[in-house]
């Protein structure tokens, strides 16, 4: 077993930062009771000004006059934590949640994603794209990986033999032992994990209880680690809330890109696709504005989802400012990736046809793209349909035009010359749409070839129905 641990040192802060385009403005998360507000987390520029976690808010305000303050929300943090677990599920079937970290079993995933260095860079690229600061380590046990990430980013310990050696120099304070135990051990002169491992077990158990010994065994792999396997939920729901009001649709584009990116990461983990999802724009008062984004077929490409959603969003007129946005995807059909020919001659930057169709539909309307197919009906009006699923064998090679007028209209101008005809079409008794017509091919004075009909037995009062263009 090999476990990769992805430690998320600033999960709550990243969750807030990713709602808006990256800026340098100082921002802090605050927590604690109203009388004793403390800084929970501070972004880079706030830290540069001397703010730190645990600082009294009054002290922070004395140091820095202007900074954005956001209330720390543990629920929000947990949501991001679960989202990242769903993302990690793409890379391994065994995913667990530890404090501020996601662990995943990777020994079998290495066959698919390549050797660890390549796999690790895949993980890092994804996390960077999603906008989460991270540290990654690899170890034979999940808890050891969790401890190692805190000490050394990028450390990879492959075998149980080397694990003990890697753990030995780790100081007590970083070993993720219960607070009072770590304190007690330090005051006893035990400074590193190596020293702790060397102590007789019986004595440790008597003094600190069996929990500590069990934890040490789990750390070194002598005892299996009970880990609750994460299972991704069946629906996707993600919400972003702002402290300020957003009045223009353009300002929603960045959060929208984030949300659709999250949806795409979640879908990749589930190996599913989405065909329909809803965006809810919440206002201060009144019902939220709902935008439904539908696609022709299930997809999960982040760029495709974003583009479809943006197309719908840009046509929106905001009646009220937006304070929060929620993306809900309930219906998640299986995803079948479009096959691409190995010897495809199209340019490499080509937009897939599906994506092109979605782009056109997003701007021109849902029904703007049609495919016509032939039906078995001999009546010209019903000889073709846009509905999929009807197939018909070609009829006899009677003259048929290439353009059809949706509604026949009288043929104007001087009398045309008849080139061929008549062809009697007399049918439609089954649905009340009876027709009885003689069709002719004629040539108009302007040189057009027309498909016209008239009442049976007559030649005159031509009705134009198509062009042989």
């Amino acid at each position: 077993m090999l476990w990769a641990c992805v430690l998320l040192p600033q999960l709550a802060l990243d969750g807030v930062l990713r709602r808006q385009p990256p800026t340098d403005a100082p921002l802090v998360l605050v927590s604690g009771p109203a009388q004793a507000r403390v800084v929970h987390a501070a972004n880079r520029s706030a830290r540069a000004a001397g703010l730190y976690r645990g600082q009294r808010l009054a002290a922070a305000q004395a140091l820095l006059s202007q900074f954005a303050m956001v209330e720390y929300d543990p629920e929000d943090e947990a949501r991001w934590h679960r989202l990242l677990a769903a993302w990690a599920y793409r890379y391994s079937g065994e995913v667990g949640l530890l404090a501020h970290a996601v662990v995943l079993e990777v020994s079998r995933s290495l066959n698919l994603f390549g050797p660890w260095p390549r796999f690790e860079s895949l993980l890092r690229d994804d996390l960077k794209e999603l906008g989460f600061r991270h540290r990654i380590a690899l170890a034979p046990t999940p808890h050891a990986a969790h401890v190692l990430t805190g000490v050394h980013d990028g450390m990879a310990v492959m075998t149980p033999d080397t694990l003990r050696r890697a753990l030995s120099p780790i100081p007590m304070a970083r070993a993720r032992l219960p607070g009072e135990v770590a304190q007690a051990l330090s005051s006893m002169g035990i400074r590193t994990l190596g020293q702790l491992f060397a102590l007789p077990r019986a004595g440790l158990q008597r003094r600190f209880g069996s929990d500590l010994v069990a934890q040490l065994d789990r750390l070194s792999g002598d005892e299996p680690s009970p880990m609750e396997n994460y299972r991704p939920p069946d629906t996707f729901e993600q919400r972003m809330e702002w402290t300020h009001e957003i009045e223009h649709v353009e300002a929603l584009v960045f959060p929208l890109r984030r949300l659709t990116g999250d949806l795409s990461a979640y879908l990749a983990g589930r190996d599913g696709g989405v065909q329909r999802f809803e965006l809810e724009l919440e206002h201060r008062s009144g019902a939220p504005t709902r935008v439904t984004v539908g696609m022709l077929s299930a997809g999960r490409d982040a760029a495709l989802l974003f583009e479809c959603a943006r197309g719908r969003m840009e046509r929106l007129e905001l009646s009220q400012p937006v304070v929060a946005m929620r993306l809900v995807a309930r219906d998640l059909p299986p995803f079948v990736p479009a096959g691409r020919d190995l010897f495809d001659t199209r340019p490499t930057h080509a937009v897939p046809l599906e994506q092109l169709r979605e782009r056109l539909r997003a701007r021109l309307g849902e029904a703007s793209i049609q495919h016509l197919r032939r039906t078995v009906d001999p009546r010209p009006e019903f000889a073709q349909t846009t509905i999929a699923g009807v197939g018909a064998t070609p009829m006899a090679s009677l003259p048929r035009p290439t353009w059809l007028l949706e509604h026949p209209r009288p043929l104007r101008g001087p009398p045309p010359t008849v080139l061929a005809g008549p062809e009697r079409i007399e049918t439609g008794w089954w649905d009340g749409g009876d027709l009885r017509r003689d069709y002719y091919v004629v040539r108009t004075a302007q040189g057009q070839c027309a498909w016209v009909f008239c009442a049976p037995g007559e030649q005159g009062a031509w009705m134009l129905h198509g062009w042989f263009a």
Binding site: R357, G365, P380, R400, T402, W403
Partner: protein
């Protein structure tokens, strides 16, 4: 300036551009009309470029001109887009001429969106041919289409009224159809050669 420089050395240093067009490669997109292929400098449609077709009225045989090409492309499982066609394409008629309709997308676009849709399709690189019927298209809009066709390596066909023949056009090939006394094509402009004078009769029939 008194220095005399041999012309050869200048040419050899590649500092002088000689006004000679690059040799034209033979087109891999035959029109399906041998007489037209023979008259065109590249022996087919200009590749990755726009062809403008000017019509006196609808229904004189403008589709006959491109249907052999569309039939060939769709049978190779390549996509064709029709943007804002003036009438409904009649499937039995198209299929009788060999077009696989499953590969043909019909895009209904409003007057203002025709050029946008055509450009998107051309630029995407996933369509083999794009046919568009713009109502208002100025020189700049057409130039955009020409560039998009080049980017997406697609064939662009733009159908316009004959009265636009007097305007300059960035199209690589301009064809003007004449229906009297029978269907004839006049090549108004073609890239890579002098347009042949005279009319080319096309044996287009109604069947």
């Amino acid at each position: 300036m008194g220095q005399v420089v041999a012309l050869d050395s200048l040419l050899h240093a590649r500092q002088v551009w000689r006004g000679r067009a690059a040799p034209l490669l033979d087109s891999s997109q035959p029109t399906g009309w041998p007489a037209l292929d023979a008259a065109l400098p590249s022996g087919g449609w200009p590749e990755h470029a726009m062809t403008e077709i000017l019509l006196p009225v609808d229904g004189v045989g403008e589709l006959q001109l491109v249907l052999p090409t569309l039939a060939r492309l769709t049978r190779e499982s390549r996509s064709v887009m029709l943007i804002a066609p003036p009438y409904l394409p009649y499937v039995p008629g198209w299929e009788a001429r060999g077009v696989v309709m499953a590969r043909v997308d019909i895009v209904q676009a409003g007057e203002r969106d025709v050029l946008w849709a055509a450009e998107q399709c051309l630029r995407s690189g996933s369509c083999a041919a794009v046919l568009a019927w713009p109502v208002h298209a100025d020189d700049r809009a057409l130039r955009r289409l020409q560039v998009a066709a080049d980017t997406g390596k697609a064939l662009a066909f733009v159908f316009r009224d004959q009265r636009h023949a007097v305007q300059a056009s960035p199209a690589a090939l301009r064809l003007e159809l004449e229906s009297e006394p029978s269907l004839q094509v006049r090549i108004r402009k073609c890239r890579g050669g002098q347009p042949p004078t005279g009319l080319l009769p096309l044996a287009a029939g109604w069947s």
